[in-house]
Symmetry: C2
Subunit: 324 residues, 2 copies
């Protein structure tokens, strides 16, 4: 059921089989599988799944290609609740390994917050990432277009940018690596540093030979109407027309709660085996937090695989029948 501050006392001294941290596609898919294996699960979601911002899921098999990410999440939550899963809107502050169970310290409510510590035998870390966005004076101006034609994922939306005039919004030297795969889709690329870093002059020359301008003047605002970005206005009043944009500024991992558990990582991504198990036998990771492709369908599959392995673990340890 949907837990609320008022209902938390119903779960006093309760030990979940699994607490899933994150209610995006990976966490919800895991939850559906766990409940269908007759396990008790709680999904704690802080409500910022990356797919929530996707205005059209163009590549998720089975859904019409104009399906918004939030529709997938809504459907998944309803499905999960319909088979008895517990769902809580909250923010996990810390996970501690107490030996046979984990304690999961959670903040509930933004205002007049209360704190509650849940217990579970297994953890699935499904809290994903969130993209860095250009920091403009008026952030609403960025939100107006991000997820529409101001894209954050080249794999997802390269197709949409075919032969378009594309502005690439970079945060550092490493952001520039996106130019090569993007140029598979379009030759019309303009790079924007927003004044945040200097592009090396030999690199600028190389881009210039490819016909790719590098704009280092800070951005004042995105231009456009009705969520369709049409260009950029710089702080020196220059206006640059664009058909679409690609934000390539890296991302922030939502996994502070795992600090202290010493899980093995590669480039900040959690390393898992083929069953999504991390270097801790009872912590699994799915979706964008782990090594692998950041795609909604992959996260959903990861969740199914992690849930199945946890069921197998519990079944082999606890015998052939659940208690209830």
């Amino acid at each position: 059921m949907q837990l609320t501050q008022q209902l938390l006392h119903e779960r006093e001294d309760y030990i979940y089989d699994v607490i899933v941290i994150g209610g995006g596609s990976g966490g919800l898919s895991a939850g559906v599988y766990l409940q269908r294996y007759l396990l008790n699960s709680l999904i704690i979601d802080k409500g910022k799944a990356r797919s929530f911002w996707i205005q059209a899921l163009h590549n998720y098999l089975g859904l019409p290609s104009d399906t918004p990410g939030r529709e997938l999440l809504k459907q998944g939550k309803a499905h999960y609740l319909s088979i008895g899963g517990d769902l809580l809107n909250g923010y996990v502050e810390a996970v501690a390994d107490e030996g046979t169970v984990f304690s999961v310290r959670t903040k509930v409510g933004r205002n007049q917050s209360i704190y509650h510590t849940f217990q579970a035998k297994y953890i699935i870390a499904a809290s994903g990432i969130i993209d860095h966005l250009p920091q403009l004076e008026n952030m609403q101006n960025v939100y107006n277009f991000a997820g529409y034609n101001l894209h954050v994922c080249l794999l997802c939306d390269g197709y949409e940018m075919q032969n378009q005039q594309v502005g690439v919004f970079c945060a550092s030297q490493s952001s520039l690596e996106v130019v090569s795969p993007l140029s598979w889709f379009t030759p019309h690329i303009t790079l924007f540093t927003n004044g945040q870093f200097k592009v090396l002059s030999e690199q600028k020359q190389a881009f210039s030979k490819q016909g790719i301008p590098v704009i280092e003047t800070p951005i004042r605002k995105f231009l456009g109407v009705q969520h369709q970005m049409t260009g950029v206005e710089l702080t020196d009043d220059t206006v640059i027309q664009l058909d679409s944009g690609l934000i390539a500024m890296g991302a922030h991992r939502h996994a502070e709660y795992l600090q202290g558990l010493d899980l093995e990582c590669k480039n900040e991504n959690l390393i898992t085996d083929s069953s999504m198990r991390t270097s801790h036998a009872r912590i699994f990771a799915v979706g964008d937090l782990k090594v692998g492709m950041n795609q909604v369908i992959v996260a959903a599959s990861d969740g199914a695989i992690a849930a199945t392995q946890i069921w197998r673990d519990i079944r082999s340890r606890e015998g052939s029948r659940p208690k209830s």
Copy 2:
């Protein structure tokens, strides 16, 4: 486009980037991703995807839990065709590695068949498996219930069999391994050998202690109405009432066309790396053919991953722009 016998001449001397063998969830998801990476792909489908027989996909994130497998396939095919993919109903007889391309010998049409050899740089083997079914005199009697409450997948449908009287239909000693995971969901299990093999007497005693009868008399027919199986009638006229059934008779792999390519396998399943690449650098495998969980959502994810790796391969070799 949908290719037909009449349209095959339009693809003379054409070299596809990728031929996908199999139009189930793995193949279709691969196809959608490939087309969105501006690659040229052909899916050859013989029309027997395992998911076609699933009457309700209970665990595919984003789809209502009563969605028939065939709806997912229909949606996926329409999506793939809408972004320019080629789709052919045909049967791949052989794949030969000609050095830089593969030739794919295909039979088109069941009656008055013609043969056509296609060429591609990459192959995605997505042709899956098909479950062995109890061989009764009247097979239509089996088809009437299979995929409804005569299940073939414990992971998918254990939940549906909760506390039910379940008949398990076995083909050999190894089929009996399903009893342990099934008993997680229900203690009311009856085993049927259909007279096909003898259960060892000590094993029979062990089952007897668990309250699990072993029926070795051959089955005459399934009983039931409207796709709902209600029991079994044996050849000695005995009738056994059941709420549902689980067919655990193993499966047949649709991959004869790979013979001679010497791909590495484990227990008949193709071994792949994390990008779905087999031991041949230009042959990928997705879904039930490979090592891993046989689940629709996993196959769909596999397809996305394989397609992305092939795009990366081609991009790094062919430079930054497709020819067209």
